[in-house]
C-alpha cells in the first residue's frame, strides 16, 4: 500500500474512532443514572436529577388506588426511608418486605417520583416459606365464587 493511501486510511479510521468516542461520551453524560440508597439520597438529593434508588419496601407502607393507579410506598435501607410515588401497577415480584429498585427523580415536594419499578428476582429461588401457600388457597376460594356469570 502506498504511503499516501495508507495515510488516508489511517485518517479515516481516526475520524471514525473520534466520532464514536464523542458519541459514547455524549451518550454516557446524558444517560448515566446514579444508583443510590435511601441514606445516600437523603444526604445529597438534587431535585430533578435522575436516580436509581434501591431498597426494601417497608412493610405496611404500600398504598394502591386502582381507580387512579396511584402507587405509593416507602423504600428503606435500614437507616433512612424515602417515600416513593408511581403511576401504574407494580411489576411482578414486587411486594412489601422485598427488594426493589426504582428509577425516577427526586421532587421538590419531598418524595421520589418513580417512572420505572424493577423488582429484584433471581434464577435461584429460596425454599418456600412455611404456610405461604395457605393465603392463596383462601384467595382461590373467594374467586371461585365470583365467576363472570
Amino acid at each position: 500500500m502506498t504511503t499516501n493511501k495508507h495515510r488516508k486510511l489511517v485518517a479515516g479510521l481516526v475520524i471514525i474512532a473520534l466520532a464514536l468516542g464523542y458519541m459514547i461520551y455524549a451518550g454516557v453524560t446524558q444517560s448515566a443514572v446514579y444508583f443510590v440508597t435511601p441514606s445516600e439520597l437523603k444526604a445529597s438529593a438534587v431535585t430533578g436529577k435522575a436516580y436509581r434508588l434501591g431498597g426494601m419496601v417497608l412493610p405496611g407502607s404500600l398504598k394502591w388506588d386502582p381507580a387512579t393507579l396511584d402507587l405509593a410506598f416507602t423504600l428503606s435501607d435500614g437507616t433512612a426511608t424515602v417515600p416513593v410515588r408511581h403511576k401504574g401497577t407494580a411489576p411482578d415480584l414486587f411486594g412489601e418486605g422485598r427488594g426493589a429498585v426504582v428509577e425516577g427523580r427526586w421532587t421538590a415536594d419531598g418524595y421520589f417520583k418513580a417512572t420505572l419499578i424493577m423488582a429484584k428476582h433471581s434464577e435461584e429461588y429460596r425454599a418456600p416459606h412455611d404456610g405461604s401457600g395457605a393465603g392463596y388457597k383462601d384467595l382461590m376460594k373467594t374467586l371461585r365464587g365470583t365467576d363472570a356469570r
Binding site: V33, T89, R98, G133
Partner: protein, 648 residues
C-alpha cells in the same frame, strides 16, 4: 447410583479430553497419524460420555431424583413433563453440560467432515476443540457439578422458575448455545492456521458453512429470546439492553463482521490478520458473555448467580486471549495481506466500513455493559447507563449498516466507475427517495422512522434490481422466467442466500422501527362490564375466574375485544400464583397481526372480581420481527446448500 455414574462419566471424559488434546498436538507436531487417530478415538469417547451424562441428568429430572441438588433446585412434583426436560438446562449446571455436549457434537462432525479434506489443520483443530471441551468438563467437576448430592434428599423440589415454564425455553437456549458453541469451530481452524502457518484462505473456505450456521443459530437465539421477552415478561417489549441480552449480542455483531470480511480475503487476499483477530474476538466474547451471565458480577433480570465459576471463566478467557495474541505476534510476517485497497469507492472499502461499524457497535455494547463495573472500580460510585445510551450510539451505526447493506453487494470490486454507480444505484436511490416522500405524505412524522423505512426500501430495491437483471440475462439465453429465477437461486445460492438473509434483517428493521414509532398503550382499572378504547379497539372486562393447574393457581380475566370489523375476540390474560412465591406472575394474552398486535396484561384485581387493572397495548408491526426470523432461516438454508455453480 445413577448420579455417581454421571459424575464418573464426566471425570473420565475430562481425562480423555485432556489426553486427546495432547495426543492431537503431538500428532500435528511430529506428523504421526497414529497419535491423531488416538485423539479421534478420545474425542469420540468424550462425546459418548457427555451424552451419557446428559441423558442421566435428564433421567434424574424425569424420575424426580431430589437427592441430586440440581434437580431439587429446579423442579418439583408439579412441574409438567416437557418443562422437566427443559429444566435440565434451565440453570447454571445444566446449561454448562448442554454447552459441553454441543461442543462434543460439533467435534464429532468436524471429525466426520474434515479428517480428510483439511489434513494440515486437522490435528490442531482437534487440539483446540478438545482443550475447550476439557475446560467445560473441568467446570462441571469443580465449580458447577450437576450431579452433586443433597443430603438428606428433600421430599419435593423447589421447582422451576415460573418464568421459564414456556415453550420458548425449549428453543431459545438451545439455539443460542448452538450459535455460541458453533463459533468454536472457526476459532479452532483459525488457531490451527496460525500454528501451521497456513494463514491463506484455506481455513476460511473450509469453515464457511460453520460460520454461517453458527451465525444463524445465534441470530435465531436472539430472536427467540426477544419473542420470549415479548410474550412472557408482559412489558410489551422484546429487547431491553439487559446485560444478558448484550452478552449474546456482542458476539453476534463481531460474528456478522467476520461473515462479511472473510469474503474480502477469499476474493482479494486482504485482511488476513483482521479475520483471525475477528474470530478470536467472537469466540472470546462468547466466553465473556458466559462469564457475565454466570458469575453474578452484573445484576440482571436473568443472570444466574454462582460463586467461583466467574474466576474459572475469567482465567480461561485470559488464556485464550493471551495465547491467541502470542500466536499472532509469532506469525506477524505471515499475516501481511497481498491485495491492497485501490479506491475508496469500491466493494472492499464498503465491506471494510461495514466491519468498522459492526465492531464499533460491539464496542459500544461492551462499554455500556461493563460501564457500571468500571465506574465502581475507578470512581467508587454506582452508576449505570440504560437503553437511552445504547440507542443513541447504536441507532446511527445501524442506519449506516443498513445503507451499506444496499451498497456492498452491488458496487464494483477494486474501483467503481461513475458508470457502474449509475447503473447499479440510480433506480434504487430514486425509489428510496420517492419512498421517503410517500411515507412523509402518508403522515409519518418521526424523521428517524422515515429515514429507516426509506433506507429499507432502498436496500430492497438494490436486491430487486440485481435479481431482475440476472434473470433477464438468463432470459436472453433462452430460459423461461421461472426456471431462470430458480436456476439463479440454486446456482448462485451463496449470493442469493445472502440477499434473502438481508431481506430478513430488513423485516426486523421495519418491525423495530414500527414498534418504536407507532405503538400505543394505556393502563387503567375497569369495573366488570365496563369498556375502554385504544387505537380503534374497544376492550370490555367480562369477569374473573380461578382455576388450579398442576403446580400453580391461576386467576384468569375475560375480556372482549372489538374493532368494528370482524368477529369480537376474547382475550384471557391471567395471573399465576406459585405457592412458593410471594407474588404472582403475569400471563399475557394477545392477538398477533401483521399490522398490529393487541396485547393485554392483567395487573391488579379485586378479590371479588368486580374490577381489574389492565395494561392494554396496541403494538405496531412487531410481527415483522418474527417474520424476519423465518426469512433468515430460508436464506441460511439457501446459503449453505452445496455450491453448484461450477457444474452449471
Amino acid at each position: 447410583m445413577i448420579p455417581e455414574i454421571g459424575y464418573g462419566a464426566l471425570l473420565v471424559a475430562l481425562v480423555l479430553a485432556v489426553y486427546g488434546s495432547a495426543a492431537a498436538g503431538i500428532g500435528g507436531h511430529t506428523g504421526r497419524a497414529a497419535y491423531v487417530e488416538s485423539a479421534q478415538h478420545a474425542a469420540l469417547g468424550v462425546f459418548v460420555l457427555v451424552t451419557l451424562a446428559f441423558a442421566l441428568l435428564t433421567y434424574a429430572f424425569l424420575v424426580f431424583d431430589f437427592s441430586v441438588r440440581y434437580v431439587a433446585a429446579n423442579t418439583n412434583r408439579g412441574t409438567p413433563f416437557y418443562y422437566r426436560i427443559t429444566a435440565v438446562w434451565g440453570a447454571l449446571e445444566g446449561s454448562i453440560i448442554l454447552w459441553a455436549w454441543m461442543i462434543a457434537m460439533y467435534t464429532l462432525i468436524v471429525i466426520l467432515r474434515h479428517r480428510r479434506n483439511a489434513r494440515e489443520f486437522y490435528p490442531w483443530v482437534l487440539t483446540v476443540l478438545l482443550s475447550v471441551l476439557a475446560f467445560f468438563l473441568l467446570v462441571m467437576t469443580v465449580p458447577a457439578p450437576p450431579f452433586q448430592r443433597l443430603t438428606p434428599a428433600p421430599a419435593d423440589g423447589r421447582g422451576l422458575n415460573p418464568l421459564l415454564e414456556d415453550s420458548g425455553m425449549i428453543t431459545h437456549p438451545v439455539a443460542l448455545y448452538l450459535g455460541f458453541t458453533g463459533f468454536t469451530v472457526p476459532f479452532a481452524f483459525a488457531i490451527a492456521a496460525l500454528i501451521t502457518r497456513r494463514v491463506g484462505d484455506a481455513w476460511i473456505t473450509t469453515t464457511r458453512r460453520w460460520t454461517i450456521v453458527a451465525w444463524y443459530f445465534l441470530s435465531l437465539g436472539l430472536l427467540i429470546g426477544g419473542w420470549w421477552s415479548y410474550h412472557v415478561l408482559g412489558w410489551g417489549g422484546y429487547w431491553a439492553w439487559d446485560p444478558v441480552e448484550n452478552a449474546a449480542f456482542m458476539p453476534w455483531l463481531t460474528g456478522t463482521a467476520f461473515l462479511h470480511s472473510v469474503m474480502i480475503q477469499e476474493r482479494r487476499r486482504m485482511l488476513k490478520l483482521w479475520n483471525i483477530a475477528l474470530v478470536v474476538l467472537t469466540f472470546s466474547l462468547t466466553l465473556f458473555g458466559t462469564f457475565l451471565t454466570r458469575s453474578g458480577v452484573i445484576a440482571s433480570v436473568h443472570a444466574f448467580t454462582q460463586g467461583s465459576i466467574g474466576m474459572f471463566f475469567l482465567t480461561f478467557l485470559a488464556l485464550v486471549v493471551l495465547g491467541a495474541l502470542a500466536l499472532l505476534a509469532l506469525r506477524w510476517d505471515d499475516l501481511r495481506g497481498q491485495g491492497e485497497l485501490d479506491s475508496v469507492v469500491s466493494r472492499e472499502s464498503t465491506f471494510l466500513l461495514n466491519n468498522v461499524m459492526l465492531v464499533a457497535a460491539a464496542f459500544t455494547v461492551f462499554f455500556g455493559t461493563v460501564f457500571p463495573l468500571l465506574a465502581e472500580a475507578t470512581r467508587g460510585v454506582k452508576v449505570s447507563v440504560g437503553a437511552p445510551f445504547f440507542n443513541s450510539v447504536n441507532v446511527p451505526l445501524f442506519l449506516g449498516l443498513i445503507f451499506l447493506m444496499g451498497v456492498g453487494p452491488l458496487i464494483a470490486w477494486r474501483r467503481a466507475s461513475l458508470n457502474n454507480l449509475v447503473r447499479n444505484f440510480l433506480w434504487p436511490v430514486t425509489i428510496g427517495v420517492v419512498a421517503a416522500a410517500v411515507f412523509r405524505l402518508l403522515g409519518v412524522r418521526s424523521a428517524l422512522a422515515v429515514l429507516t423505512l426509506a433506507l429499507t426500501v432502498f436496500v430492497a430495491a438494490t436486491i430487486a434490481v440485481d435479481f431482475a437483471r440476472a434473470t433477464r440475462a438468463r432470459g436472453r439465453l433462452g430460459e423461461r422466467l421461472l426456471p431462470a429465477m430458480g436456476g439463479l437461486l440454486v446456482r448462485h445460492n451463496r449470493r442469493y442466500g445472502g440477499f434473502v438473509i438481508h431481506l430478513g434483517i430488513l423485516l426486523v428493521a421495519v418491525g423495530v422501527t414500527g414498534s418504536q414509532a407507532w405503538s400505543v398503550q394505556d393502563e387503567l382499572t375497569l369495573r366488570r362490564g365496563e369498556s375502554t378504547e385504544l387505537a380503534g379497539y374497544r376492550v370490555r372486562f367480562d369477569g374473573l375466574a380461578a382455576s388450579e393447574e398442576s403446580n400453580h393457581f391461576k386467576v384468569t380475566g375475560t375480556f372482549t375485544v372489538t374493532n368494528g370489523r370482524g368477529h369480537p375476540l376474547t382475550l384471557s390474560p391471567a395471573k399465576k400464583f406459585y405457592p412458593r412465591d410471594q407474588t404472582p406472575i403475569a400471563y399475557v394474552d394477545y392477538k398477533l397481526g401483521l399490522r398490529e398486535d393487541v396485547y393485554l396484561v392483567l395487573g391488579d384485581f379485586a378479590r371479588d372480581g368486580s374490577q381489574a387493572t389492565v395494561k392494554l397495548q396496541v403494538n405496531r408491526l412487531v410481527s415483522w420481527i418474527w417474520l424476519g426470523g423465518v426469512v433468515l432461516t430460508l436464506g441460511t438454508a439457501l446459503a449453505v446448500l452445496p455450491e453448484r455453480r461450477k457444474t452449471a
